[in-house]
Symmetry: C2
DNA sequence: GTCTATACTAGGATAGAC
DNA sequence: GTCTATCCTAGTATAGAC
Protein backbone atom coordinates (compact mmCIF):
# COMPACT_ATOMS: atom_id res chain seq x y z
CA UNK A 1 0.00 0.00 0.00
CA UNK A 2 1.45 3.36 -0.98
CA UNK A 3 1.33 6.04 1.69
CA UNK A 4 -1.12 8.70 0.63
CA UNK A 5 0.13 12.10 1.70
CA UNK A 6 -2.47 14.45 3.09
CA UNK A 7 -1.24 17.65 4.71
CA UNK A 8 1.50 19.97 3.53
CA UNK A 9 3.69 20.83 6.44
CA UNK A 10 7.04 22.37 5.92
CA UNK A 11 9.37 19.42 5.43
CA UNK A 12 12.90 19.07 4.00
CA UNK A 13 13.14 19.34 0.23
CA UNK A 14 14.77 15.93 -0.16
CA UNK A 15 11.90 14.25 1.60
CA UNK A 16 9.26 16.14 -0.36
CA UNK A 17 11.08 15.18 -3.50
CA UNK A 18 10.66 11.53 -2.67
CA UNK A 19 6.98 12.00 -1.91
CA UNK A 20 6.47 13.66 -5.26
CA UNK A 21 8.41 10.95 -7.06
CA UNK A 22 6.31 8.29 -5.34
CA UNK A 23 3.10 10.00 -6.34
CA UNK A 24 4.34 10.64 -9.86
CA UNK A 25 5.35 7.02 -10.29
CA UNK A 26 1.84 5.90 -9.44
CA UNK A 27 0.09 8.44 -11.62
CA UNK A 28 2.37 8.12 -14.65
CA UNK A 29 2.00 4.36 -14.38
CA UNK A 30 -1.74 4.59 -14.49
CA UNK A 31 -2.33 7.39 -16.97
CA UNK A 32 0.82 7.43 -19.05
CA UNK A 33 3.03 10.42 -19.71
CA UNK A 34 0.71 12.53 -21.82
CA UNK A 35 -2.33 11.50 -19.79
CA UNK A 36 -0.83 12.67 -16.51
CA UNK A 37 -1.25 16.22 -15.28
CA UNK A 38 1.16 17.85 -12.91
CA UNK A 39 -1.88 18.92 -10.95
CA UNK A 40 -2.92 15.33 -10.38
CA UNK A 41 0.56 14.43 -9.19
CA UNK A 42 0.52 17.43 -6.88
CA UNK A 43 -2.79 16.48 -5.33
CA UNK A 44 -1.65 12.90 -4.77
CA UNK A 45 1.46 14.23 -3.10
CA UNK A 46 -0.61 16.64 -1.02
CA UNK A 47 0.95 19.84 -2.32
CA UNK A 48 0.22 22.52 -4.91
CA UNK A 49 0.72 22.10 -8.64
CA UNK A 50 3.21 24.93 -9.08
CA UNK A 51 5.42 23.41 -6.41
CA UNK A 52 5.80 20.24 -8.40
CA UNK A 53 6.90 22.23 -11.41
CA UNK A 54 9.14 24.37 -9.26
CA UNK A 55 10.92 21.34 -7.92
CA UNK A 56 11.44 19.43 -11.17
CA UNK A 57 11.47 22.19 -13.77
CA UNK A 58 9.14 20.51 -16.24
CA UNK A 59 6.80 17.56 -16.40
CA UNK A 60 9.20 15.93 -18.83
CA UNK A 61 12.06 16.09 -16.36
CA UNK A 62 9.85 14.72 -13.63
CA UNK A 63 8.99 11.75 -15.82
CA UNK A 64 12.61 11.12 -16.67
CA UNK A 65 13.52 11.11 -12.99
CA UNK A 66 10.71 8.67 -12.32
CA UNK A 67 11.94 6.45 -15.11
CA UNK A 68 15.49 6.37 -13.86
CA UNK A 69 14.55 5.77 -10.25
CA UNK A 70 12.18 3.05 -11.33
CA UNK A 71 14.85 1.30 -13.31
CA UNK A 72 17.31 1.52 -10.42
CA UNK A 73 14.81 -0.16 -8.15
CA UNK A 74 14.20 -3.05 -10.48
CA UNK A 75 17.93 -3.57 -10.85
CA UNK A 76 18.26 -3.49 -7.08
CA UNK A 77 15.59 -6.17 -6.80
CA UNK A 78 17.47 -8.30 -9.36
CA UNK A 79 20.70 -7.88 -7.46
CA UNK A 80 19.06 -8.84 -4.20
CA UNK A 81 17.71 -11.99 -5.87
CA UNK A 82 21.12 -12.86 -7.27
CA UNK A 83 22.79 -12.39 -3.89
CA UNK A 84 20.18 -14.29 -1.88
CA UNK A 85 22.31 -17.25 -0.78
CA UNK A 86 19.75 -18.47 1.77
CA UNK A 87 17.22 -19.13 -0.97
CA UNK A 88 17.39 -22.75 -2.23
CA UNK A 89 15.60 -22.08 -5.56
CA UNK A 90 17.58 -21.83 -8.79
CA UNK A 91 18.64 -18.33 -9.85
CA UNK A 92 16.09 -18.08 -12.67
CA UNK A 93 13.23 -18.78 -10.28
CA UNK A 94 14.55 -16.27 -7.77
CA UNK A 95 14.81 -13.45 -10.30
CA UNK A 96 11.42 -14.26 -11.77
CA UNK A 97 9.87 -14.24 -8.34
CA UNK A 98 11.61 -10.97 -7.50
CA UNK A 99 10.02 -9.29 -10.49
CA UNK A 100 6.57 -10.62 -9.69
CA UNK A 101 6.91 -9.51 -6.10
CA UNK A 102 7.59 -5.98 -7.25
CA UNK A 103 3.95 -5.93 -8.30
CA UNK A 104 3.05 -6.32 -4.68
CA UNK A 105 5.57 -3.84 -3.33
CA UNK A 106 4.77 -1.07 -5.74
CA UNK A 107 3.05 -1.69 -9.02
CA UNK A 108 3.61 1.88 -10.07
CA UNK A 109 7.23 0.94 -10.62
CA UNK A 110 6.48 -1.62 -13.30
CA UNK A 111 3.72 0.42 -14.88
CA UNK A 112 5.61 3.68 -15.18
CA UNK A 113 8.57 1.87 -16.66
CA UNK A 114 6.28 0.29 -19.22
CA UNK A 115 4.84 3.69 -20.03
CA UNK A 116 8.37 4.89 -20.67
CA UNK A 117 9.15 2.02 -23.02
CA UNK A 118 6.27 2.82 -25.31
CA UNK A 119 7.37 6.43 -25.59
CA UNK A 120 10.33 5.69 -27.79
CA UNK A 121 9.42 8.40 -30.30
CA UNK A 122 9.95 11.18 -27.77
CA UNK A 123 13.34 12.83 -28.32
CA UNK A 124 14.01 13.39 -24.61
CA UNK A 125 12.33 10.36 -23.03
CA UNK A 126 13.02 7.75 -25.69
CA UNK A 127 16.78 7.50 -25.09
CA UNK A 128 16.29 7.18 -21.34
CA UNK A 129 13.71 4.44 -21.76
CA UNK A 130 15.85 2.51 -24.21
CA UNK A 131 18.87 2.76 -21.94
CA UNK A 132 16.76 1.47 -19.06
CA UNK A 133 15.52 -1.47 -21.05
CA UNK A 134 19.02 -2.45 -22.04
CA UNK A 135 20.35 -2.07 -18.52
CA UNK A 136 17.82 -4.67 -17.40
CA UNK A 137 18.72 -7.01 -20.24
CA UNK A 138 22.43 -6.62 -19.66
CA UNK A 139 22.06 -7.31 -15.97
CA UNK A 140 20.42 -10.62 -16.79
CA UNK A 141 23.26 -11.46 -19.15
CA UNK A 142 25.81 -10.59 -16.47
CA UNK A 143 23.98 -12.81 -14.01
CA UNK A 144 24.86 -15.69 -16.29
CA UNK A 145 21.78 -16.14 -18.47
CA UNK A 146 22.19 -16.71 -22.18
CA UNK A 147 20.66 -14.44 -24.84
CA UNK A 148 17.57 -16.58 -25.35
CA UNK A 149 16.91 -17.05 -21.69
CA UNK A 150 17.37 -13.35 -20.98
CA UNK A 151 15.05 -12.50 -23.84
CA UNK A 152 12.50 -14.92 -22.43
CA UNK A 153 12.69 -13.15 -19.09
CA UNK A 154 12.11 -9.78 -20.70
CA UNK A 155 9.19 -11.17 -22.68
CA UNK A 156 7.53 -12.50 -19.56
CA UNK A 157 8.19 -9.16 -17.86
CA UNK A 158 6.51 -7.27 -20.69
CA UNK A 159 3.54 -9.61 -20.49
CA UNK A 160 3.26 -9.03 -16.75
CA UNK A 161 3.40 -5.28 -17.26
CA UNK A 162 0.75 -5.42 -19.96
CA UNK A 163 -1.58 -7.61 -17.92
CA UNK A 164 -1.27 -5.26 -14.96
CA UNK A 165 -1.79 -2.16 -17.05
CA UNK A 166 -4.79 -3.56 -18.87
CA UNK A 167 -6.63 -4.29 -15.67
CA UNK A 168 -7.39 -7.87 -16.63
CA UNK A 169 -6.50 -9.05 -13.15
CA UNK A 170 -9.93 -8.12 -11.87
CA UNK A 171 -11.52 -10.69 -14.18
CA UNK A 172 -9.62 -13.60 -12.67
CA UNK A 173 -12.23 -16.04 -11.51
CA UNK A 174 -14.95 -14.54 -13.69
CA UNK A 175 -13.52 -15.74 -16.96
CA UNK A 176 -11.98 -19.16 -17.36
CA UNK A 177 -9.51 -18.04 -20.04
CA UNK A 178 -8.31 -15.12 -17.95
CA UNK A 179 -7.68 -17.47 -15.05
CA UNK A 180 -5.66 -19.75 -17.30
CA UNK A 181 -3.62 -16.86 -18.61
CA UNK A 182 -2.80 -15.54 -15.16
CA UNK A 183 -1.99 -18.96 -13.80
CA UNK A 184 0.44 -19.54 -16.64
CA UNK A 185 1.97 -16.10 -16.18
CA UNK A 186 2.23 -15.86 -12.42
CA UNK A 187 2.31 -19.52 -11.35
CA UNK A 188 1.93 -20.00 -7.63
CA UNK A 189 2.39 -16.27 -7.13
CA UNK A 190 -1.03 -15.60 -8.61
CA UNK A 191 -2.39 -14.58 -5.21
CA UNK A 192 -0.39 -11.36 -5.50
CA UNK A 193 -2.44 -10.10 -8.42
CA UNK A 194 -5.77 -11.80 -7.86
CA UNK A 195 -8.26 -9.35 -6.34
CA UNK A 196 -9.67 -10.21 -2.94
CA UNK A 197 -13.30 -11.39 -2.92
CA UNK A 198 -14.72 -8.35 -1.12
CA UNK A 199 -13.91 -5.93 -3.94
CA UNK B 1 4.89 1.86 -46.62
CA UNK B 2 1.59 3.47 -45.70
CA UNK B 3 0.01 5.64 -48.37
CA UNK B 4 0.22 9.25 -47.26
CA UNK B 5 -2.87 11.12 -48.33
CA UNK B 6 -2.34 14.60 -49.70
CA UNK B 7 -5.30 16.31 -51.34
CA UNK B 8 -8.87 16.43 -50.15
CA UNK B 9 -11.14 15.76 -53.05
CA UNK B 10 -14.70 14.86 -52.51
CA UNK B 11 -14.69 11.12 -52.00
CA UNK B 12 -17.21 8.62 -50.56
CA UNK B 13 -17.55 8.67 -46.79
CA UNK B 14 -16.70 4.99 -46.40
CA UNK B 15 -13.42 5.47 -48.20
CA UNK B 16 -12.53 8.60 -46.25
CA UNK B 17 -13.33 6.68 -43.09
CA UNK B 18 -10.72 4.09 -43.95
CA UNK B 19 -8.14 6.76 -44.70
CA UNK B 20 -8.76 8.36 -41.35
CA UNK B 21 -8.58 5.03 -39.56
CA UNK B 22 -5.29 4.26 -41.29
CA UNK B 23 -3.84 7.60 -40.28
CA UNK B 24 -5.19 7.32 -36.75
CA UNK B 25 -3.73 3.84 -36.34
CA UNK B 26 -0.30 5.16 -37.20
CA UNK B 27 -0.50 8.24 -35.01
CA UNK B 28 -2.06 6.57 -31.98
CA UNK B 29 0.55 3.86 -32.25
CA UNK B 30 3.34 6.36 -32.17
CA UNK B 31 2.07 8.93 -29.69
CA UNK B 32 -0.42 7.00 -27.59
CA UNK B 33 -4.01 7.95 -26.93
CA UNK B 34 -3.49 11.05 -24.81
CA UNK B 35 -0.48 12.13 -26.84
CA UNK B 36 -2.38 12.12 -30.11
CA UNK B 37 -4.27 15.17 -31.33
CA UNK B 38 -7.20 14.95 -33.68
CA UNK B 39 -5.49 17.66 -35.66
CA UNK B 40 -2.45 15.52 -36.25
CA UNK B 41 -4.60 12.65 -37.43
CA UNK B 42 -6.46 15.02 -39.72
CA UNK B 43 -3.28 16.33 -41.28
CA UNK B 44 -1.94 12.84 -41.86
CA UNK B 45 -5.22 11.95 -43.52
CA UNK B 46 -5.11 15.14 -45.60
CA UNK B 47 -8.33 16.66 -44.27
CA UNK B 48 -9.41 19.20 -41.66
CA UNK B 49 -9.54 18.55 -37.92
CA UNK B 50 -13.26 19.21 -37.48
CA UNK B 51 -14.04 16.66 -40.15
CA UNK B 52 -12.32 13.93 -38.17
CA UNK B 53 -14.42 14.80 -35.14
CA UNK B 54 -17.52 15.07 -37.27
CA UNK B 55 -17.02 11.60 -38.63
CA UNK B 56 -16.23 9.77 -35.40
CA UNK B 57 -17.96 11.89 -32.79
CA UNK B 58 -15.09 12.03 -30.32
CA UNK B 59 -11.43 11.21 -30.17
CA UNK B 60 -12.27 8.42 -27.77
CA UNK B 61 -14.61 6.76 -30.22
CA UNK B 62 -12.03 7.07 -32.96
CA UNK B 63 -9.52 5.28 -30.79
CA UNK B 64 -11.97 2.53 -29.93
CA UNK B 65 -12.66 1.97 -33.62
CA UNK B 66 -8.94 1.81 -34.30
CA UNK B 67 -8.53 -0.70 -31.51
CA UNK B 68 -11.26 -2.98 -32.76
CA UNK B 69 -10.15 -2.86 -36.36
CA UNK B 70 -6.60 -3.50 -35.29
CA UNK B 71 -7.61 -6.54 -33.31
CA UNK B 72 -9.67 -7.91 -36.21
CA UNK B 73 -6.68 -7.65 -38.48
CA UNK B 74 -4.39 -9.54 -36.16
CA UNK B 75 -6.98 -12.28 -35.79
CA UNK B 76 -7.30 -12.43 -39.55
CA UNK B 77 -3.54 -12.85 -39.83
CA UNK B 78 -3.67 -15.67 -37.27
CA UNK B 79 -6.46 -17.36 -39.17
CA UNK B 80 -4.59 -17.11 -42.43
CA UNK B 81 -1.58 -18.73 -40.76
CA UNK B 82 -3.71 -21.54 -39.37
CA UNK B 83 -5.30 -22.21 -42.75
CA UNK B 84 -2.07 -22.07 -44.76
CA UNK B 85 -1.87 -25.71 -45.85
CA UNK B 86 0.87 -25.06 -48.38
CA UNK B 87 3.28 -23.99 -45.65
CA UNK B 88 5.39 -26.92 -44.41
CA UNK B 89 6.36 -25.29 -41.08
CA UNK B 90 4.66 -26.33 -37.85
CA UNK B 91 1.65 -24.26 -36.79
CA UNK B 92 3.48 -22.49 -33.97
CA UNK B 93 6.17 -21.25 -36.35
CA UNK B 94 3.56 -20.10 -38.87
CA UNK B 95 1.60 -18.05 -36.32
CA UNK B 96 4.76 -16.57 -34.85
CA UNK B 97 5.96 -15.60 -38.30
CA UNK B 98 2.56 -14.12 -39.14
CA UNK B 99 2.76 -11.81 -36.15
CA UNK B 100 6.28 -10.71 -36.95
CA UNK B 101 5.32 -10.06 -40.53
CA UNK B 102 2.59 -7.70 -39.39
CA UNK B 103 5.41 -5.42 -38.33
CA UNK B 104 6.38 -5.18 -41.93
CA UNK B 105 2.87 -4.76 -43.30
CA UNK B 106 1.77 -2.10 -40.90
CA UNK B 107 3.49 -1.55 -37.61
CA UNK B 108 0.83 0.92 -36.55
CA UNK B 109 -1.42 -2.07 -36.01
CA UNK B 110 0.75 -3.61 -33.34
CA UNK B 111 1.64 -0.31 -31.75
CA UNK B 112 -1.86 1.08 -31.45
CA UNK B 113 -3.06 -2.19 -29.97
CA UNK B 114 -0.27 -1.99 -27.42
CA UNK B 115 -1.27 1.57 -26.61
CA UNK B 116 -4.77 0.31 -25.94
CA UNK B 117 -3.61 -2.42 -23.58
CA UNK B 118 -1.75 0.07 -21.48
CA UNK B 119 -4.90 2.14 -21.04
CA UNK B 120 -6.77 -0.31 -18.88
CA UNK B 121 -7.74 2.37 -16.35
CA UNK B 122 -9.89 4.23 -18.85
CA UNK B 123 -13.56 3.40 -18.31
CA UNK B 124 -14.44 3.42 -22.01
CA UNK B 125 -11.26 2.11 -23.58
CA UNK B 126 -10.18 -0.37 -20.92
CA UNK B 127 -12.95 -2.90 -21.53
CA UNK B 128 -12.39 -2.84 -25.28
CA UNK B 129 -8.66 -3.38 -24.86
CA UNK B 130 -9.14 -6.24 -22.41
CA UNK B 131 -11.66 -7.90 -24.67
CA UNK B 132 -9.21 -7.59 -27.57
CA UNK B 133 -6.40 -9.13 -25.58
CA UNK B 134 -8.53 -12.08 -24.58
CA UNK B 135 -9.81 -12.61 -28.10
CA UNK B 136 -6.22 -13.07 -29.22
CA UNK B 137 -5.46 -15.46 -26.38
CA UNK B 138 -8.61 -17.46 -26.97
CA UNK B 139 -7.88 -17.77 -30.64
CA UNK B 140 -4.54 -19.34 -29.82
CA UNK B 141 -6.23 -21.76 -27.46
CA UNK B 142 -8.77 -22.68 -30.14
CA UNK B 143 -5.96 -23.27 -32.61
CA UNK B 144 -4.84 -26.08 -30.34
CA UNK B 145 -2.16 -24.51 -28.16
CA UNK B 146 -2.11 -25.22 -24.44
CA UNK B 147 -2.35 -22.49 -21.79
CA UNK B 148 1.40 -22.22 -21.28
CA UNK B 149 2.22 -22.18 -24.93
CA UNK B 150 -0.45 -19.57 -25.64
CA UNK B 151 0.84 -17.47 -22.78
CA UNK B 152 4.34 -17.77 -24.18
CA UNK B 153 3.09 -16.49 -27.52
CA UNK B 154 1.43 -13.51 -25.92
CA UNK B 155 4.58 -12.78 -23.94
CA UNK B 156 6.70 -12.78 -27.06
CA UNK B 157 4.11 -10.57 -28.74
CA UNK B 158 4.26 -8.05 -25.92
CA UNK B 159 8.05 -8.04 -26.13
CA UNK B 160 7.90 -7.42 -29.87
CA UNK B 161 5.46 -4.56 -29.36
CA UNK B 162 7.62 -3.03 -26.67
CA UNK B 163 10.80 -3.29 -28.70
CA UNK B 164 9.11 -1.65 -31.67
CA UNK B 165 7.58 1.11 -29.59
CA UNK B 166 10.79 1.88 -27.76
CA UNK B 167 12.68 2.46 -30.96
CA UNK B 168 15.50 0.13 -29.99
CA UNK B 169 15.55 -1.35 -33.48
CA UNK B 170 17.65 1.52 -34.76
CA UNK B 171 20.49 0.49 -32.44
CA UNK B 172 20.82 -2.97 -33.96
CA UNK B 173 24.38 -3.25 -35.12
CA UNK B 174 25.57 -0.38 -32.95
CA UNK B 175 25.20 -2.20 -29.68
CA UNK B 176 26.14 -5.83 -29.26
CA UNK B 177 23.52 -6.50 -26.59
CA UNK B 178 20.74 -4.97 -28.67
CA UNK B 179 21.70 -7.20 -31.57
CA UNK B 180 21.56 -10.24 -29.32
CA UNK B 181 18.16 -9.26 -28.01
CA UNK B 182 16.69 -8.74 -31.46
CA UNK B 183 18.19 -11.92 -32.82
CA UNK B 184 16.65 -13.88 -29.98
CA UNK B 185 13.31 -12.15 -30.44
CA UNK B 186 12.96 -12.13 -34.21
CA UNK B 187 15.18 -15.03 -35.27
CA UNK B 188 15.77 -15.19 -38.99
CA UNK B 189 13.08 -12.54 -39.49
CA UNK B 190 15.34 -9.88 -38.01
CA UNK B 191 15.75 -8.24 -41.41
CA UNK B 192 12.19 -6.96 -41.12
CA UNK B 193 13.01 -4.70 -38.19
CA UNK B 194 16.68 -3.97 -38.73
CA UNK B 195 17.14 -0.53 -40.31
CA UNK B 196 18.77 -0.43 -43.69
CA UNK B 197 22.36 0.85 -43.76
CA UNK B 198 21.65 4.10 -45.61
CA UNK B 199 19.48 5.53 -42.81
C1' DG C 1 9.63 25.55 1.59
C1' DT C 2 5.12 26.46 -0.06
C1' DC C 3 1.18 28.98 -1.63
C1' DT C 4 -2.19 31.98 -4.62
C1' DA C 5 -2.95 34.18 -8.71
C1' DT C 6 -2.45 34.23 -13.36
C1' DA C 7 -0.47 34.22 -18.13
C1' DC C 8 -0.47 31.62 -22.12
C1' DT C 9 -1.16 27.76 -25.27
C1' DA C 10 -3.03 23.74 -27.00
C1' DG C 11 -6.59 21.06 -28.30
C1' DG C 12 -11.43 18.93 -28.49
C1' DA C 13 -15.65 20.05 -30.03
C1' DT C 14 -19.53 23.00 -32.24
C1' DA C 15 -21.86 26.16 -35.71
C1' DG C 16 -22.71 27.02 -39.90
C1' DA C 17 -21.24 28.14 -44.77
C1' DC C 18 -20.41 26.06 -49.26
C1' DG D 1 -18.75 15.75 -48.10
C1' DT D 2 -15.74 19.22 -46.43
C1' DC D 3 -14.15 23.64 -44.81
C1' DT D 4 -13.36 28.05 -41.84
C1' DA D 5 -14.11 30.31 -37.76
C1' DT D 6 -14.53 30.02 -33.09
C1' DC D 7 -15.75 28.64 -28.33
C1' DC D 8 -14.16 26.83 -24.14
C1' DT D 9 -11.73 24.00 -21.10
C1' DA D 10 -7.71 22.11 -19.36
C1' DG D 11 -3.12 22.24 -18.29
C1' DT D 12 1.96 23.85 -18.07
C1' DA D 13 4.58 27.19 -16.44
C1' DT D 14 5.75 31.83 -14.27
C1' DA D 15 5.58 35.72 -10.80
C1' DG D 16 5.73 36.91 -6.60
C1' DA D 17 3.90 36.85 -1.70
C1' DC D 18 4.46 34.64 2.81
Amino acid sequence: MSSVVTGSERIPAAERREQILDAATRVFGELGYAGTTTDRVAREAGISQPYVVRMFGTKERLFIEVLERTCDRILAAFDAAVDADGDPRPLAARIGAAYVELVDTDRGILLSLMQGFILGHDPAIGPVARAGFMRLFERLREAGFGPDESTGFMARGMLINTLLASGLASSIGEDRCVSELFTSTFGDKIGIVAPSTQD
